[in-house]
């Protein structure tokens, strides 16, 4: 079971506690702290209790299937190395909790802090115990995310926001690279399981994808560990609360990178590529970090650069490829964690007590806080590599390794010098740290009067410093066995002989240590005052990583992206439509060009003169409509009608009477519709000046070309289709069964209401939806200011009418329709009969519900035109929305009626009913369906037209209200 495994709980506990923390009430500050302490302590204890099995060389595994298909399993795996790190993480985590109890001020949200902190702890423990590389990436990214949230804990500060963002951006880039690298590893190995991967070192190194995998994984590791050239995010992350820095930037987060390099060291190391990349990064970080640390005025900044430098040391060690170097690297990782965590916490105490972290303002603090001063001094000494402290031991091993020959490369020759230089600089900044803060004259005033912190706040520092001392003096008795377990689990059979003795005799490494210590101290004596006064580092001061990063980010992700977006995209409609057309023309033309177009020979009778004439008329209308649409809208509309008419005639000519009828009625209603709209468009006479000149001409020419291409393409395709021998189509089936099984002679109509009634079902829905949309839109319609006025004609006629008061008001309008409206009204019942005729005939002859519906709607419109909206609506109560709903329901109800007969939706049923006197009457459910169509079409058409027409009276109503006001 899951719960049985302590390994599982080591991960689960912090996460559970984290969620609990955020759920606790805001007042329960102590409870939250206790929760954090218990969680970390439990992890610590759980980890510690695993020691016996780990020490026996066993690898504890805990596997839960997650997505086995993809090789992703929730595999936890603990060996000595992981154990060592888990201990470090949970141990220092616990100390940080104790410390934070006193650090986090009452104004800050403790819940939020522990939410993030514990989740981070869990993620970090996940990273070290992941037994599956993908799972490792998961936890890896989680550490990035939670570190982002922790760094941004005081998000009110700009520095915190910027630092957090930069940290996340850099580490996330690295994390993604790591993912890619891991994927390649998976591709090479065939598994993401760490054990499998560790067993496939040779295979990986000899694979052609080794270099990309290596580069990507190193990208992940180096960014995480803030190694050159990705180091710059770490100093900016110092905006985090100090406990966070103590935890993340000494012991955990940044350690993840070197941890990973050590973890995969057996698999990836030993090649020239590894040596060069890792070595360069490590060496540069070592020296540069130490150099820049000297110049820092911010206490935490100094520690941050120092961290970069010390991690560089570990990295450099790992690059060397020798097992002994790896041992040293692992040892230094542990040592660094202890002294750096204590230093960070000490820095936090100083900041907490004095209110500043500025080295220039801090001075003579020893007098006020001797204990803290002592502890910090010891820790600094460990950092500087002073003998009898843990830092000295690993540094000694480091020197010993650097003088060895590892590769035939200039880098290898430079290493010892760089090592000494870095160590010397490290001594310099360590001395400066102590000297500047604790010694010298106390300043006139601190923001607060400093004193020693409460015992439990100082306790973690004390504990860690003691650890430095103990390890530094009796390494063999203390760390020795544990280190050996860790080392052995990484190196396995390659584990070298090494000794952790304090004294190895007068060796070259000792000499190097001495040089570094003396040189560093002398350097401080020489330039200490300069450092104290410097604004920015010498030489490299102008190179500000943060600024470069920000500039690059702005350039690439903001300005660059914006200009690219503008180049690659557009927000204007015309270019978009051009692209659409271009795409369609290309889509049609390319296959034809590639596969070759063959024109068929099939032809219905030769060209007919009248038909040609018809299309001369049609084409003339179309082309003129296109030319006139800009300045003469009405003309264009009329010409469009002409084109439509010719289209109708074509349908008629070519055996499609149904289409002819439908197109006709639609044509008529569309014309009315567009005319209704025309009233709200601006007058073209007051036209906006259109762009002229060469560019505009070119644009028009291009559009013309596109239009001609599209037209030509359609001509070719249409001609090719028409002249082919027709394929065997499904149509035969319809012709055969239309009458026998569909009960109708008009095959088109039977297809529409029966064979493919489902299409019609959707189609009327479209019409209904559009009508509702039109209605909705027009309810919110606001005419443009220049359209609100009555049309010019009405204005003139009104003036005329007012000039002749003896006539009725609005006499012109009245007289205009006085006679003709009579005929228009008398046509109403005729149109109803026509609609009924088209509807009932539809199944056997041209017509059908749609044509009937539009016809009926035309009848209504005619009444509106004849007598005006108000007049009609006083007399006829048309509820078009109900017609729409009713029509849809009739259609769906008819279709669903088939369910009762156990047949699929829309299955039709027809029979001949023998009525007395009348004879046989065909009754088809399809007719009922068509009734639904009819109802909907009437409703939708009327709704659209009337909604438009209502705009005119809305305007009247509005102006009337205005007049009253």
């Amino acid at each position: 079971m899951i719960a049985d495994s302590p390994l599982f709980w080591i991960i689960a506990l912090p996460f559970t506690a984290s969620l609990l923390a955020i759920c606790l009430p805001a007042r329960a500050r102590d409870a939250v702290t206790w929760l954090g302490g218990i969680a970390t302590l439990s992890c610590l204890v759980l980890t510690a209790r695993l020691y016996p099995s780990v020490a026996g060389g066993e690898t504890i595994r805990h596997e839960v299937e997650w997505i086995p298909e993809l090789g992703l399993d929730f595999t936890l795996r603990m060996d000595g190395f992981a154990w060592m790190f888990a201990l470090l993480v949970s141990g220092i985590g616990f100390l940080v909790v104790i410390y934070s109890r006193y650090y986090i001020s009452p104004e800050d949200s403790v819940r939020r802090f522990y939410f993030f902190f514990l989740a981070f702890t869990g993620s970090m423990l996940g990273v070290v115990t992941s037994g599956n590389l993908i799972l490792l990436v998961v936890f890896w990214e989680l550490t990035s995310i939670f570190s982002f949230l922790l760094i941004g804990y005081w998000y009110q500060n700009v520095a915190a926001r910027d630092g957090a963002r930069m940290a996340l951006t850099i580490t996330a880039i690295g994390g993604l690279a790591l993912l890619a690298g891991v994927l390649i590893i998976g591709h090479i190995v065939g598994s993401y399981d760490l054990d499998d991967v560790l067993a496939s070192g040779t295979r990986i190194r000899s694979h052609q994808l080794y270099v990309p995998a290596l580069v990507l994984i190193l990208l992940g590791a180096l960014t995480k560990s803030a190694q050159f050239p990705f180091h710059f995010w770490l100093p900016n992350a110092m905006a985090a609360p100090t406990p966070v820095s103590a935890f993340l930037h000494s012991a955990t987060m940044v350690k993840a990178g070197v941890f990973l390099m050590a973890r995969l060291w057996p698999v990836l190391s030993g090649t020239p590529e590894w040596f060069v990349i890792v070595g360069l990064a490590g060496m540069a970080s070592l020296v540069l970090g130490a150099y820049l640390a000297m110049f820092q005025q911010d206490l935490k900044g100094l520690l941050a650069y120092s961290t970069i430098s010390h991690l560089g040391l570990s990295t450099l060690l790992l690059s060397l490829g020798s097992p002994l170097a790896a041992v040293a690297a692992i040892f230094h990782m542990i040592n660094h964690a202890t002294f750096k965590a204590s230093l960070f916490m000490a820095a936090g105490i100083i900041d907490h007590e004095t209110g500043t972290r500025d080295l220039r303002r801090l001075s003579g603090l020893f007098r006020y806080m001797p204990i803290t001063g002592t502890l910090a001094t010891v820790a600094s000494a460990a950092m500087a590599g002073v003998p009898l402290l843990n830092g000295f031991l690993s540094k000694e091993m480091f020197f010993a390794e650097t003088v060895e020959r590892h590769a035939d490369h200039w880098l290898d020759i430079v290493t010892p010098y760089a090592a000494v230089l870095g160590s010397a600089l490290s001594v310099t900044y360590s001395v400066r740290l102590i000297h500047s803060i604790f010694l010298g004259a106390p300043p006139e005033s601190f923001p607060r009067r400093p004193h020693e912190p409460p015992f439990w706040m100082g306790f973690p520092v004390l504990f860690l410093v003691l650890a430095c001392l103990v390890v530094g003096t009796i390494p063999g008795l203390t760390i020795g066995t544990y280190l050996h377990v860790a080392v052995e689990s990484v190196l396995g059979a390659d584990t070298p002989q090494y000794s952790l003795a304090v004294w190895h005799g007068f060796t070259l490494p000792l000499a190097m240590s001495t040089v570094a210590l003396v040189g560093g101290t002398l350097l401080y004596l020489a330039i200490g005052d300069y450092l104290e006064a410097s604004e920015r580092p010498l030489l490299l001061g102008r190179i500000n990583g943060q600024r470069i990063f920000e500039q690059v980010m702005v350039a690439i992700s903001w300005r660059g992206a914006r200009s690219l977006e503008a180049i690659l995209g557009t927000r204007r409609l015309q270019p978009q439509l051009q692209l659409l057309m271009l795409a369609a023309v290309a889509a049609g033309a390319i296959p034809l060009a590639v596969d070759g177009l063959t024109l068929g020979k099939y032809e219905v009778k030769g060209p007919e003169l009248a038909f040609a004439g018809l299309w001369i008329v049609g084409a003339a209308c179309a082309v003129t409509a296109a030319r006139q649409a800009k300045y003469h809208r009405l003309a264009s509309l009329v010409l469009l009608g002409g084109t439509g008419l010719v289209t109708c005639m074509t349908f008629m000519w070519l055996s499609a009477p149904d289409l002819a009828v439908t197109q006709l009625v639609v044509e008529i209603v569309t014309t009315v519709l567009l005319l209704l709209g025309l009233r709200w468009l601006p007058k073209r006479s007051q036209a906006i000046v259109e762009p002229v000149g060469a560019a505009a001409r070119l644009r028009r020419l291009r559009d013309l070309g596109l239009a001609i291409a599209a037209g030509a393409g359609m001509t070719v395709i249409a001609y090719a289709v028409m002249t082919r021998i027709p394929p065997e189509t499904i149509a035969e089936y319809f012709l055969e069964r239309s009458y026998l099984e569909g009960g109708g002679r008009n095959v088109v109509n039977v297809i529409l209401v029966d064979f493919r009634g489902f299409d019609t079902f959707g189609e009327i829905t479209v019409l209904g939806i559009v009508a509702l949309t039109v209605f909705a839109l027009l309810r919110r319609f606001r005419p443009a200011p220049d359209s609100i006025e009555r049309p010019e004609q009405q204005h003139i006629q009104r003036v005329f009418d007012e000039a002749y008061p003896e006539r009725k008001p609005d006499a012109t309008a009245h007289d205009y329709l006085f006679v003709s409206s009579v005929i228009m009204q008398w046509m109403f019942p005729v149109i109803i009969v026509l609609a009924a005729y088209l509807f009932l005939r539809g199944h056997d002859a041209p017509g059908g519900g749609f044509a009937a519906g539009i016809t009926m709607a035309a009848g209504f419109i005619l009444q509106y035109m004849a007598a005006g909206t108000v007049w009609v609506e006083d007399r006829l109560r048309i509820l078009p929305v109900k017609w729409i709903g009713g029509g849809l329901l009739v259609a769906v109800g008819t279709g669903a009626g088939a369910f009762l007969a156990g047949a699929p939706f829309l299955s039709s049923h027809f029979q001949y009913l023998d009525l007395p006197f009348i004879g046989e009457v065909p009754l088809a459910t399809a007719t009922l369906f068509d009734l639904g169509v009819f109802l909907l079409v009437v409703g939708a058409t009327v709704l659209m037209l009337i909604a438009l027409a209502h705009q005119s009276i809305r305007r009247l109503r509005a102006s009337r209200i205005e007049e009253q006001a």
């Binding site: 390649i184 690659l568 995209g569 889509a587 289709v721 009634g757 849809l888």
Partner: protein, 547 residues
Amino acid sequence: MMGWTQHLLIAPILLPMATGAALLLFDERRHRFKAGVNIASTLLLLILSIALLRIADISPGPGSLTHSYAVGGWPAPFGIVLVLDRLSALMLLLTSVLAAASMTYSLARWHRAGPHFHTLFQLLLMGINGAFLTGDLFNLFVFFEVMLAASYGLLLHGSGPVRVRAGLHYIAINLVSSLFFLIGVSLIYGVIGTLNMADLAMRLVEAEPGNRALFEAGAAILGVAFLIKAGMWPLCFWLPPAYTAAAAPVAAMFALLSKVGVYVVLRLSLLLFGSDAGALTGFGSQFLLFGGMATIVFGAIGVLATQSMGRLASYNLLVSSGTLLAAIGMGDAAVISGALFYLVSSTLTVSALFLLIELVERAQEPGANLLTVTMEAYGDEVDAEGDEEQEVGLIMPGALAIVGVCFGCIALLLAGFPPLSGFIAKFALLAAMFNPDGLGGEAGIGGPTWVFAALVILSGLAALISLLRTGIRTFWAPVEAVMPRVLVVEAAPIIVLIVACVVLTVQGAPLLRYTDAAAQSLHMPANYIDRVLPPSASGNETGEIER
């Protein structure tokens, strides 16, 4: 005779249709009643789609899982058939989940922002479901139109200059694309003589070579129409303005609309141009691959370039479209399985983001706390009385924190960061790309695959950078954050969608097994054809759900 359960297949179309139509018969001002009916219908649809998913997934293995329903009792290929397989069932479920979320969200205020919202919403569902279910090319056009028409209405829902301006472009472009659709379909009919997709696939093999060029032209023009909908660069510039302008619950549904285009491309390209298609095998796949990758690039650039959250979400949608299209272009079953997982996850995420944006904006400016609806309806004599009633529902405590957490989760999901399903999805895609024959296979990795993989990863990075910028600006930078008035019905759907993503993370394996089976069966078009076309096409006895 058919049992009632066998009609389940058509229910996802009929139910929303009937609901939408019935709602028209009631007075527009009965908002609560209509909302109740709508939500009940949407939940029923959710249950229905779960049932259909179970039907589609009832037996193990990829084959013999296609169910067909001959509408009107006319056998395929003559009549219209609806086809249910794993892919369509998955899309149906996704639709109904999003619908339930959006619908709930809209109850806070949006459903009263204009007339007939509920009907339009239900009819949109009808269109989407129909597009997923139909096995007929022209019927697909019809359902596309239903869907588009409803989307026009919903996009314009609430009116206002921004929406109308965006709507004009959206409608113009979709009208043109509908014309392309028609040209493509009719050309295919003219050349091949059928409209049924399965029949088409079958006849294509026998089609004479002389007709092939014309068919290809038709298919390509059809493809342009779908790719416009799916949002492939350079046919996608309409999408960000339109989706940004739409009301939040509408935009959340729109996140699915572009997936309909993707769905159709996937369905048709594997059915018609699959491995059995002879000379037509792989037609257009290169184009999809490179077009998809271009779309990812453009989407990622847009993601980086934008300041507005709406556009951010839209561009993320483009990225996801591009990813899916390129994955289809790769044509590999494993990749498509990953892509389907990605589709589900990314759609849920972007929908959640679209819903969230409004709440976030409410937190940014105090004015937004006022009813946006009221502001827009100001001075409208028709709607005035409707806004008297207060918004319904409880006000969410701790809204800002919840909004922030949701935003964080969505950011992780979009960027494809662990631990949420966005990561699983991208990992599934990448793993399939790197290991086309499964982990440990021998197949190498081709050049385009490298580019595609890089783009998948880098687009996530772009999303991260942009969301980080936006998130910090929104949640961290303001000195005095306004406590937004967020109703429970607004926050709950977002949380539910995010929780769904969490579930996808934890229960990734079952879904991946499902998508795997779906992808496998897509790669066996013969199965589909056999199930859709009755053994003897002349038989009358059809219209049953066939197991």
